[in-house]
Amino acid sequence: MKRIAYYQGCSLEGLASEYDISTRAVCDALGIELIEIPDWNCCGSSPAHSADPLLSSALAGRNLAIAEAEGCDVVMTPCPGCLKSLKGALETCHDPQQCDAFREILGMPFEGRIRAISVLELLYKDVGVDALRAQVQKPYADQVIVPYYGCLLTRPPKFADFDDPENPVSMDRLLEAVGVTVPDFPYKTECCGATYGVTRNDIVGKLTGRILDMALRVGAEAVAVACPLCQQNLDLRQAQVNRHMNRTFDLPVVYITQVIGIALGIAPKELGLDKLFVNADFLLRSAREEEPQAKTIG
């Protein structure tokens, strides 16, 4: 059995805490043991990258080194931004031209044997769609949810080894496995404004507005995400978006782990459903009632 280290990253400690608890709850329900990286630090995110790629690699590298020292084979992180930093660090570590500088700056032993994966890859590849389907206790009945992967999860292509960079399907398949109806969503990988939440929320307003609008057009009741930044932009900032775009969006934006958690029979509170800004109780529709008339609700 693989030893899986868990790297939650700063966002999941703060504004995205429900992503953290739902990830842990789902893994627990599926019998996956997560070993939290002791005393992990921030991976540096885009600011580190824009300052110096070596800084980014070394910051992420410290977490990898700790996980490796704990005897783990893979590091799983729910945050695509962190994933990019972790993969970047591994790339630097294996690049003959950079590895010496990397090691010097990292300043601790690290072999670079470990792999970095996202929670999505863990569910899609390691657990598998069929195994997940078999564990569903409360399948959804008629909920229509679009999967929104965001820009980083499947890019750049050299890092996206588990799904197609242009038309990823892993989240589609996972959602379908728990009974959700998944329409074709053309904006799966469009960027939502990423880190400009703070500095330029006019940009976020426009880009996020497009995405929410397209979700409504294809008939979605909610957007499923796998990235804390996407979630914040789409959910927390939905009111800002409404102001910028002169709209009245009221679209739940839920973490994929929350959607799956409900279907696995986990209590909504244990998935942090109450922490979302736009109410997402529609998810519970079929979870409460399994009789056919449930279909008439809503």
């Binding site: 921030c42 800084l55 700056i105 890019r155 750049p156 703070v198």
Partner: protein, 192 residues
């Protein structure tokens, strides 16, 4: 968009710039044949002063100052759409990233706010080992002279119990600070 009148190419041509960008990014900029796919795919083209394909063209023409002073390089969100679709296998996003670093080094940063946010972010990491979201925002707002930026969100966040009043200080923050220090020493050594 600033209008370039006549660009007397040789007067502002910096051949060394092309070389430095290529070295820093590991990308061969001369491979770009100006298809425009990067700009077609970039969600930020509308706020850029030069669409990213023009940034690539300006590098090819050695126009260091226009490039390093452009707003585009700071508005790039590293979303990788350009890298993913470039038919010439250029990691365009990587080039943009290298330009940000160069513009910082050469003191040509156009959008100081974004740089400031990045700096505050890293300061937080260096101090606590993790990012302290609650602390980062007010400091940034103050320094950026936008005291009420995002204040509309505070009550929402507070209500959901998501606002931490204290940073989580990790035990290994000395180790993390050490990374910053060794990096600085490393660069000093290599400049010498």
């Amino acid at each position: 968009m600033e209008h370039i009148h006549t660009l007397s190419i040789q007067n502002t041509y910096d051949a060394d710039f092309i070389k430095r960008v290529e070295e820093a990014s590991g990308q061969q900029v001369s491979k770009c044949y100006q298809c425009g796919n990067c700009s077609a795919s970039c969600n930020y083209t509308y706020v850029y002063d030069y669409p990213v394909n023009q940034i690539m063209r300006l590098i090819q023409l050695g126009q260091r100052e226009i490039v390093l002073k452009s707003r585009s390089i700071w508005l790039c969100a590293s979303c990788q759409a350009c890298t993913t679709r470039c038919p010439c296998n250029i990691e365009v996003s990587h080039v943009m990233e290298s330009l940000r670093i160069m513009s910082r080094e050469e003191k040509m940063v156009s959008l100081k706010d974004i740089q400031l946010f990045y700096d505050e972010f890293l300061r937080s990491v260096k101090t606590f080992g993790r990012v302290f979201e609650t602390g980062l925002l007010p400091v940034f707002n103050m320094k950026a002279k936008r005291p009420f930026g995002d204040m509309d969100l505070a009550p929402l966040v507070l209500k959901k119990g998501k606002l931490h009043l204290l940073p989580s200080r990790i035990k290994g923050r000395k180790e993390v600070a050490g990374i910053f220090e060794r990096l600085e020493a490393f660069h000093k050594k290599h400049e010498a």
